[in-house]
């Protein structure tokens, strides 16, 4: 019984840590500046 409680505690702590990490990284967005422009090789 004690082992099961420890496992459940470990899983719940891991879940909380994962949740915090997911929330913290949600604000990151891909770079929106710059882009590709067609070019012709110049001699």
């Amino acid at each position: 019984m004690k082992f099961i409680r420890q496992v459940l505690l470990a899983i719940s702590i891991a879940g909380m840590v994962a949740g915090v990490l997911r929330r913290r990284t949600k604000g990151v967005v891909a770079p929106q500046q710059g882009g590709w422009r067609e070019v012709t090789p110049q001699r």
Partner: protein, 312 residues
């Protein structure tokens, strides 16, 4: 591009790259003889042969060189290309040319570095990334290249790292966009170092999915597609311009098989004109008419894109 003399150009391989090479040459009005790997000796009457079959190429290249026939190899297998680079003396003795790695990466990447080099006073870093595959043999090579050892040039030393490591998000021209790219067993750094011996850092990466990396050390789980749907190449050059650090990024979004075929075709035409001295070379080196080959590739439908960023 200057017209080739009357001698014909041969192609070994009927796959995607071979057929694109033949199509490019025929569109430009040149005669082409195509043979399979088994019937490659039928091309002994050609002056230049494009090897567009799966690796290895080194043994067949030696056979053609022994006959005095110049070879353009589209192979991108690291060991195979290293073997071809060892053929310098034999090629010179037979007055023949070997151009190793004349495809997309390596190949077009060397042409782009040669072109971008002119925008700098000096360059010290080149980082390439490629997305997509040509035909089935190219897909197998992509699969295998994620399982071996990658080589990289770092501050004057060759570094070996496990292929599939070193994730980096690389942006390719649309419609490909951003892809996770990893180190892979590619001859690109070795060939790029021959293009610009003064470079301090050279890396080569390839886009891959989690499944690609997970299954890299296993046999391919299913047969590869007949041709990769989309492809792209990105070359980043860093150096000094006007006394300040400067970065230029040029990319191409096109099927890898098409890029490889066009590059191989125009390289073969350049070799056929006789302007390339005997020996083993790779695209981007000063002894090759890189500007002519790049112009030819652009005229054959390859569009170049430059990344224009902001300081934010």
């Amino acid at each position: 591009m200057t017209s080739a003399p009357t001698s014909s150009i041969g192609i070994v391989g009927h796959g995607i790259v071979g057929s694109r090479t033949a199509l490019t040459l025929q569109t430009l009005g040149h005669s082409v003889k195509v043979a399979s790997l088994r019937t490659a000796t039928e091309l002994f009457d050609c002056s230049v042969v494009v090897l567009a079959h799966g690796a290895p190429h080194a043994a067949l290249a030696s056979t053609f060189i022994a006959q005095g026939i110049s070879v353009v190899s589209t192979g991108d297998n690291l060991e195979d290309v290293m073997s071809m680079l060892d053929s310098q003396e034999r090629a010179e003795a037979r007055n023949a040319v070997i151009v190793a790695g004349a495809s997309c990466s390596p190949g077009m990447s060397g042409l782009l570095v040669s072109h971008m080099r002119r925008a700098f006073e000096s360059i010290d870093e080149v980082h390439t990334a490629v997305h997509g595959t040509g035909g089935p043999m190219c897909a197998r090579q992509h699969h295998d290249s994620l399982a071996g050892l990658s080589v990289g040039w770092h501050d004057g030393e060759w570094l070996q790292r496990p292929a599939g490591s070193g994730r980096e998000l690389c942006w390719f021209p649309d419609p490909v966009g951003a892809r996770d790219c990893y180190r892979f067993a590619s001859p690109e750094p070795v060939l790029m170092q021959r293009v610009e011996p003064g470079l301090q850092r050279i890396t080569a990466r390839v886009s891959a999915t989690r499944r690609d990396r997970l299954t890299a050390r296993l046999p391919m789980l299913r047969r590869p597609h007949a041709e990769g749907l989309e492809g792209a190449l990105r070359v980043e050059v860093r150096g000094v311009r006007n006394g300040r650090r400067h970065v230029e990024i040029v990319g191409i979004a096109n099927k890898v098989g098409s890029i490889s075929g066009v590059v191989a075709a125009h390289t073969a035409l350049a070799v056929a004109t006789g302007v390339v001295p005997a020996g083993v070379h790779n695209l981007g080196q000063a002894v090759l008419p890189n500007a002519d080959i790049l112009d030819g590739a652009v005229n054959s439908g390859i569009t170049l894109h430059q990344f224009v960023g902001t300081d934010q």
